[in-house]
Symmetry: C4
Subunit: 258 residues, 4 copies
């Protein structure tokens, strides 16, 4: 795939009359909008990046904001997308070029309920250096074990792409790189992290960034002892019971109350 001439945001509206937009509980929309703002306040996303939620009633669909900075997302900005990654109720609102990250991972990984894509700053360097792997350096990031794979877009799109996951074929290739892992790095781009719940995906996105920062620092000190796979698995199970402790703080930070 070469560089597209499409240099503006795609404002696709799917008008297939057989498509129906499923209803979504208001509490879920609130939670997804909040997740957007949390990812900004925890320095995972800047003006770019996005987080999706598999639709609770229609598992082949997912919810994702219109194309905008995550920090500004409210419930009114959330759109439902169909299994092909095209919006069901865009009503002219522009959508993210890279929505196929979400559609293809949701298809490939039935247990995944939420996907976070970001350019979080400590992770990008690990995506561009071949001989180094992002591995769990501490118990907070056991979910990374044994190591996060790296997606090389050139293998699918050739040497002249615009680096974006802008169609289903690239989304499928990314999902294959992700495989059964919790996170996949994207060379010269960022990362994509998944979870079996929205809060778990956000938690993992935050601690993927933390792990990268700690690991880079530790590697400059000397040879690093990483978690064993068994330690990582056990720590990850324990942390899955602790996510709300962080979430409750992050929510208040996103609301400017802490």
């Amino acid at each position: 795939m070469g560089a597209s001439n499409d240099t503006t945001e795609v404002a696709t509206t799917r008008t297939d009359p057989t498509a129906t937009t499923p209803d979504t509980p208001a509490a879920l929309l609130d939670e997804l909008a909040l997740a957007n703002r949390i990812l900004f306040h925890q320095d995972v996303v800047d003006g770019f990046g996005h987080v999706s939620l598999r639709h609770p009633a229609r598992p082949d669909c997912f919810l994702l904001a219109r194309s905008m900075a995550p920090a500004l997302v409210t419930v009114d900005d959330i759109i439902c997308f169909g299994p092909d990654g095209e919006p069901l109720d865009a009503r002219g609102r522009p959508v993210y070029l890279e929505r196929f990250i979400h559609s293809e991972i949701f298809r490939a990984r039935p247990e995944v309920m939420s996907v976070v894509h970001s350019h979080s700053p400590s992770v990008v360097p690990f995506s561009v250096v071949r001989d180094v792997k992002l591995c769990p350096i501490c118990h907070m990031s056991g979910f990374l074990a044994p190591a996060a794979p790296v997606f090389e877009i050139r293998d699918t799109a050739g040497p002249a792409s615009d680096m974006l996951i802008r169609d289903r074929r690239l989304g499928e290739a990314l999902a294959r790189s992700l495989g059964p892992h919790a996170a996949v790095l994207m060379r010269g781009h960022g990362s994509t992290v998944v979870g079996t719940s929205l809060r778990q995906a956000v938690f993992r996105a935050v601690y993927t960034e933390v792990n990268a920062r700690l690991q880079a620092e530790a590697m400059r000190l000397g040879t690093v002892t990483f978690l064993t796979d068994a330690e990582a698995a056990a720590a990850s199970r324990t942390n899955d019971g602790q996510i709300d402790r962080a979430w409750n703080l992050w929510r208040l930070q996103a609301e400017g109350k802490v």
Copy 2:
């Protein structure tokens, strides 16, 4: 010890009728709640970590928040724990899995009045690199002399633990690693710092993090001249008379007034 199946927070309530919950002066509870918030605002703790205070009237007991983010702790969240690390007045509130860090250090170190456990970010890298020791690089952190020991949980729990100090046996092993020192690093996890007062423990936790950041930076420049043991001891004694200078600032920062 292998990974536990217990992946949620333990909500143990001790109902032994012979146990009595000692009264605690309100000013001490205020101070302990404030210490929690200070540790957050000084970037020592994020959603995780905790700080305890030995009970002034019952030295075999200690005060510690219920399981929650330190930044949000108020006096109503503080629970009294008995010598076995179990809560005396939990009333159903969940408690920290790692309360045994506190119970076993208070037992082993009678002069210690306060314990801070954190994952402060500059310290974790020093916990995972064997050939480097955290040593006092400047007068603010003389209490680290001659070097902070590192606790390797594998030596006690084997290669498949969830990395947490989740029972008394692990707490005892950690206390042995700490020995007579002011701080002990925990491999792939964080650190635990002690003081003869709450303010001293908080002060040391802050400057342990500062020292780690400065030392990592200095080691990249060249060979570092650390404080001699005598310099470290003298500086530490002097700083013990200066703690309130920092505390008064930190309190106002935690209250959003600076």
Copy 3:
């Protein structure tokens, strides 16, 4: 050029009666004042640095704040400058010593509509190390391809200048170093970034700083895979359609609303 004795800000007022100050739409002045504040809030400028806009009605003229910290600029602080870099309506207000950065680049690059000069902190190190080039490490900074040139003021001003672009001759030399590129580093000083719109220039200034931070970090991990020139060009074209997504966030951040 040796060090000047002029150690205060130049308060030149051009009184040539044939000069007329062109009218500027209020919306453009608002946008330029906002750009100043955005560059501060995104950590591109501190008390120093500046951003200019080619005059829409008089392409030989440009708009630039009076000499002051960018964070404090309002529309009343914006002055129109003539093709020689001298102010048309200073009315005694002091002007930037380095206004010739802007005048000479606007002359040499007719398609450029905006110029940002800064000392952004991650970029300065790349300006003083000869063997390293600032190259696009990720899709957000494709505009840097193939690499940012470095301007050595000694080649024009000799070994005793005050490092500033304080006359037209130095501005011309800087413009020659810039050539057809989007950014030029200035040895021991900072960088200058250009765009075909104000928002594009600001976007590029922000992501030049981001790229420098990521690249420095990645080079410490190992050998870096940079974007190919074709990837960089394609990514840059795509991003040109996404600039408002970041701008909308940055505006709210500059207004203290996020």
Copy 4:
């Protein structure tokens, strides 16, 4: 000098009846209190560090806050000190142990009007690595040329001091290390920076910290080209005319208005 047993703040009050406390213009006290707060908001000082001003009417005296965190200093906290470094009007208020940094530099350097002492974080690493010198890496810090000397307290106080400049003899030794320079690093401690005005001293303290951060980063990239002595001198002269541009911003930041 060995470690002192004096581990609390000295609350010396000079009661010599021949001493008179000179009047100080209120505007100067305001400016000095503001300088304290600026140094905190620009990350030069934390709970520790101090800034002094030579008394305008009594050049053998100087003004300095009582012992407290700089961020909290108001005009009521400022004390006048005599030529021996002892307070003239302490009225029981505790004073800084290290006031002799100020008294002895004011004595040795008649043209110096202000002294800043800090533990600013990027500078400490340069104080503990012998083979690296802090040199001007960019035009903002030309005042550092040719390189900041390093004061080794062991040469005067022996191997067991508490690292502090706690008497006149140590202050004299520090002043000798400073010599004619603008800044002196203090091994395992921090730095002291001087200026011919309060604003210049604050400006230099801020950009000493900035220079250290940039230089450490640049040295990791490769061999650094520093400013020539002539470039540094010329840039320093120019910047002396630009200090208010930064000061006006810093004042508003300290007041929470930016």
